[in-house]
C-alpha cells in the first residue's frame, strides 16, 4: 500500500481531470466548443458541499448515512441538467469561437456569484466537507473515480455507435447539411451540451469530499482552458484523447516537482509545443499509425420485420 499512499492522490487527480476533459468531449462530438464545464463542476461541488455541511441538511445526513453521497451526485446531475438546458438553448445558437466566449462568460458570472453569495461561503468557500463513505485515505477515492471513468467510457462508446451519435457527428461535420438531412441541430446540440454539463456537475459533487474544501477557485477561466488543453492535446476526435490529455497534464506538475518554481513555465512550454507539433492530439497522432478495418456488410439479406424481433 506504500505505492498508493505516495501516488494515490495523484492517480485519483489524474482520473478526475481526465473526466473533466471528457466533459468537453461530449459537446465536441456534436461540434460544439463549450468551455462551460468549470461552471457546472463548481455548481456540482457546491451542491455536494452544502448538502454535506449545512445544518439544514443534518436530517438528511442522519437519515441517509453514506447514501447521502450518491444522493449529492444525483442532485448535482439534476441541477446541472436544468441549468445546462437554460444556458444551452440560447447559447447554442452561436457557433465556434462565439460559443466558447459565451461559455467563458457563463463561468465568470457563476464565479462572481459564488464569491458573493452567503450560501457558497463567499470568498472563503465551504470547508470541513466530510470524507465520502468514511474513507480514511485520499487514494480510496479511486473506488469512486475509476468506476466512473469506466462507466463514462462505456457510455461514450455506445453513444458513438448509435443513431444519436451519428446525429452528433453529422452536426459536427456540417450543421446545415445535417439539418437538410432531417436532423434537428438545436435538439442534439443541447443534448450534447447537457451530457457534458451533467458529467462535470457529478465530477464536482464527487470532488468536494475528495478536496475537503470547495471555493470559487474551482470554477475559473484557467480551468476552462486547462480542460480545453486536455482535449486538444490528448486528441478531440476520440474519447481516449481527453482522458489521456487530462491524466497527463494533471500529472505534469507532479512529474516536474523537482523543478520547483520553473514547473509552471515548463507546463506552459508543453502546451505551446504540443499544440504546434501534435495538432491532432496524442491519440490522433497514434491513430494515424493503424488502418481502420473496412465496414462489414451484414450477411442476412432477408429482413425480419421490426415488430417480429423479440
Amino acid at each position: 500500500m506504500d505505492f498508493l499512499q505516495t501516488y494515490g492522490f495523484l492517480i485519483v487527480t489524474m482520473l478526475q481531470q481526465g473526466l473533466l476533459g471528457l466533459s468537453l468531449y461530449f459537446p465536441l462530438m456534436a461540434g460544439q466548443l463549450s468551455l462551460a464545464s468549470p461552471g457546472f463542476y463548481a455548481l456540482g461541488g457546491y451542491i455536494a458541499a452544502i448538502m454535506l455541511t449545512a445544518p439544514q441538511f443534518a436530517g438528511w445526513r442522519d437519515a441517509l448515512g453514506s447514501w447521502i453521497f450518491p444522493v449529492t451526485w444525483l442532485f448535482s446531475a439534476l441541477a446541472s441538467a436544468v441549468l445546462g438546458v437554460i444556458v444551452g438553448v440560447p447559447a447554442l445558437r452561436l457557433r465556434g469561437i462565439y460559443l466558447a466566449l459565451a461559455t467563458i462568460a457563463f463561468v465568470q458570472i457563476l464565479q462572481v456569484l459564488s464569491l458573493n453569495l452567503s450560501i457558497t461561503g463567499g470568498a472563503v468557500g465551504l470547508f470541513a466537507i466530510p470524507q465520502a463513505f468514511g474513507f480514511v485515505d485520499r487514494w480510496q477515492y479511486i473506488w469512486i473515480f475509476l468506476p466512473t471513468v469506466i462507466v463514462v467510457l462505456l457510455f461514450a462508446h455506445r453513444l458513438q455507435g448509435s443513431r444519436v451519435g451519428r446525429a452528433f457527428r453529422a452536426i459536427r461535420e456540417d450543421e446545415l447539411a445535417a439539418d437538410a438531412m432531417g436532423i434537428p441541430p438545436t435538439r442534439y446540440k443541447v443534448l450534447a451540451f447537457v451530457i457534458g454539463a451533467v458529467l462535470a456537475g457529478v465530477v464536482g459533487a464527487m470532488s468536494a469530499p475528495f478536496l475537503n474544501t470547495w471555493n470559487a477557485r474551482q470554477g475559473t477561466f484557467d480551468a476552462s482552458i486547462a480542460f480545453l488543453a486536455y482535449t486538444l492535446i490528448g486528441g478531440s476526435r476520440s474519447m481516449w484523447g481527453p482522458l489521456l490529455g487530462g491524466a497527463l497534464l494533471a500529472s505534469l506538475p507532479e512529474l516536474l516537482r523537482s523543478l520547483a518554481d520553473w514547473r509552471l513555465v515548463i507546463n506552459g512550454l508543453v502546451l505551446v509545443v504540443a499544440s504546434l507539433y501534435l495538432p491532432q492530439g496524442i491519440v490522433g497522432a497514434l491513430g494515424r499509425l493503424r488502418r481502420k478495418a473496412p465496414p462489414q456488410r451484414p450477411v442476412t439479406p432477408s429482413t425480419p420485420a421490426l415488430g417480429d424481433t423479440p
Binding site: 447559447a91 466566449l101 513555465v265
Partner: protein, 322 residues
Amino acid sequence: MTELLQNLINGLAIGSVYAIFALGYTLVFSILGIINFAHGAVFTLGAYFTYTLVVGQFENNGLIKGINLFPAGSPFHGSAWAFAAAALIGAVLSGLVAVVIERLAFRPMRARGADPLLALVSSLGVALVIVNLIQILVGAESYSFPTDIYGDLKPALIFSLGGKLIVVRTVQVIIFAVSMVLLLILGYVIGRTRIGKALRAVAENPGTASLLGISVTRFIIITFFLSGFLGGLAGTLVSTAFSVAGPYFGVAYGLKGLAVIVLGGLGSIPGAVVGGLVIGLAEAFVPAEYSAYKDAVAFALLFVILLIRPQGLLGRVQIQKV
C-alpha cells in the same frame, strides 16, 4: 447630478484603457481570425517594463531583488517626461515581445494550417510562461508607482458643483488623453495610409493580398507589434492608476478585453473602442452596494449581446453560403 458626472469621468477613463487594450486583441483577430490569450500577459509585461524603467527596484522576492537599476539622478528619475519615456519604451518592448510570440507560437501553426482553436491553447501556454517568469524574476508581490511620477502635476483636480465635490485624478486625465490620441493616430493610420490599406486588404483576404504583392508575413508582424504596443501601454496606464498588482493581474483584464471586443464586434476596430467605453461606463455606474458584482457586468453584457446580436454592436453579419 454630481454623482452622474463623477461616474461618467471614472467610466470614460477606465473605458478608454479597455478600448486601447481591446484594440490589440481585435487587430490580431481581424488579421488571423484567432484570439491571442497571451495579450493579457503582454499587458502585465508592459506594466513591469515601465516599473523597472522608472523605479528599477524590486524588493522582497524573486531573482531580481534589492537592486537599483536607476538610482536618483539617472535619466528615468523624477520628471513627468522621464515617466513618459519609460512608458513608451515599455510599450515598444511589449510590442517586440508580441512579435516574438507570433514567431514562436503562431507562425509555425499557421504554416501548417492547424485548427485555429489550437491557437487558444498555444497562446495560453505563452501566457503561462510569461506570468511565471515574472513571478520567478521579481516575485508575486504587487508594487505601486511612486506618487511623484508625474513630476510637478497635481495628483487631482477637484471641482465643486452645487456644493458637492467632483474629483478628477490627474491619472484619469492622462489615461483618457493618451488613449484618445492613440485612437486618433491609429484611426488615421488604418483609414488613410498605405500601410493601413494593406492591413485591411490582408484582413479581408490573405490569399488575394499576397497575390497583390503584399507581404502578408510582414503585416502580421506589424500587427502583432501594434497589438503588443497597445497592450503594454494599457498595462502601464492601468498600473499607474492602481498598482502593478502581481504577475497575474493582466489575466482579469485579458478576459474583460474579450468581453469588450465581442460587445463591439469581433475584428471591428471602432467596435473595440465603443465596446471599451460601454463596459467602462457600465462598470462605473454599478451602485456602490453592488460593487462586488462589478466584475460580472462585463460578462453579463457579453452573454446578452451574444444572444441578441452575435455580430456585436458594430460588427458585420456574415452570410453563410449554401
